[in-house]
Symmetry: C2
Subunit: 264 residues, 2 copies
Amino acid sequence: MIGIFDSGIGGLTVARAVMELFPHLNICYFGDTARTPYGTKSKDTVTRYAVENTRFLLDQGAKIIVVACNTASAVAVPTLRERFDVPIFEVISPAVDMALSLAKAKRIGVIGTRGTINSGIYERLIKERDPERKVFSEPCPLLVSLVEEGWLKKPETRMIVKKYLHPLKAQQIQSLILGCTHYPIIKQLIARKIGKRVKIVDSSEAVSVSLKRYLDDNPRVMDGLSKGGESVFHVSDVTAQFAKTAQLILNRRVDLQHATPLEC
Amino acid sequence: MIGIFDSGIGGLTVARAVMELFPHLNICYFGDTARTPYGTKSKDTVTRYAVENTRFLLDQGAKIIVVACNTASAVAVPTLRERFDVPIFEVISPAVDMALSLAKAKRIGVIGTRGTINSGIYERLIKERDPERKVFSEPCPLLVSLVEEGWLKKPETRMIVKKYLHPLKAQQIQSLILGCTHYPIIKQLIARKIGKRVKIVDSSEAVSVSLKRYLDDNPRVMDGLSKGGESVFHVSDVTAQFAKTAQLILNRRVDLQHATPLEC
């Protein structure tokens, strides 16, 4: 099956995108709700958590790992690839590819958690592939909490989104990468505040497209994956609020199963 | 020495209050920044973390434990008292005592994280001791993130505080318990929004007063504590932002030492 992990519930936006593209594949999701969020934590701590989560998914029978969390994608993927001998997908390169494919968008904005933005990974990857592009990044640390609270349409959320996007608007960006799995949930609000002319790049969509390309090119891997369209959702902590947010994202009732990955 | 733990950095408001009352005592602080926050997590998970943190502080030589975190105080203290044979102080009963000592305040408001408010502990303790009092509780989950971001004076923070306090104001409360260690940092803002007539009960002050009473009554325990006024601050994850918030609370540069409590 395909294993997907995230720091919490937000990564279900990635699971949703993957399930839409591959309705017949089995998916095993792990959300580290007992230690969420990752975006405010250090590289060492996030890497340790990512290793534990990956090991858990492999123990469940995953043959491919998707790191749905942008912060873990930004800081932990080299370690995961070193330690584990399965394909590891992350959400950053696919979003960068998608942003670069918009040839006219020379001024690219990126929003994410403090951990993701401080890593500088989006800027580095974009510049490596096309030095002509200009990249403008803004950390938006409060958006995760606002989304997890379900404050999707409150005036305070609108004000905070506007405040965070203001410097990017001033830089007249032409595309905007949503560098956090929580942001697709308020994509319409973000699109409205940044302006119609700015193309939105959604990393959860981008990673599922990249996974599709990989499986189309590697039919033997595809053949080895279990089918049936069954999804299992594990979380390291279960609360009513987590269940509510999960339902909000997947648009259906979700049975969250409690699981604790072994500590390294 | 006195061991104090919290889910993160907010508990430094308790450490500050204790250090002000006992400038000569040695203090060992542990902030679980690698797993912060606790307020959104379940009772089982928070209890497991509290046991690990207590064990860590005892290993460092603590003879008294102060649970600075309201969520852990609300859900984990019976387990800690069962497992560990040292005095365990928590921040809830002292705040309740202080609120009840304001004899004219019959209508008491309580604000805290979702975990603390859902536990119903403030209401239960107040009603047990004085069934005549009315208690009105409101979870304010976003305030922790706003404080940790240092958004202490932003208009968005003012709006959100006003929104959270609105139902309590409508109930014409006469005192307000700050049931989260982060809230003393925005005490003035809270006081302004709830109105001058409402007495604010600060649980970090309340617990240090209760600790003082205990040590005055138990001079042998006091004699057994190491002196010198030295404080050590351990955290399970170190980032620049945590260091900044710590400095903001203690009003001086703080050397945060990295430590990982053993998992149960």
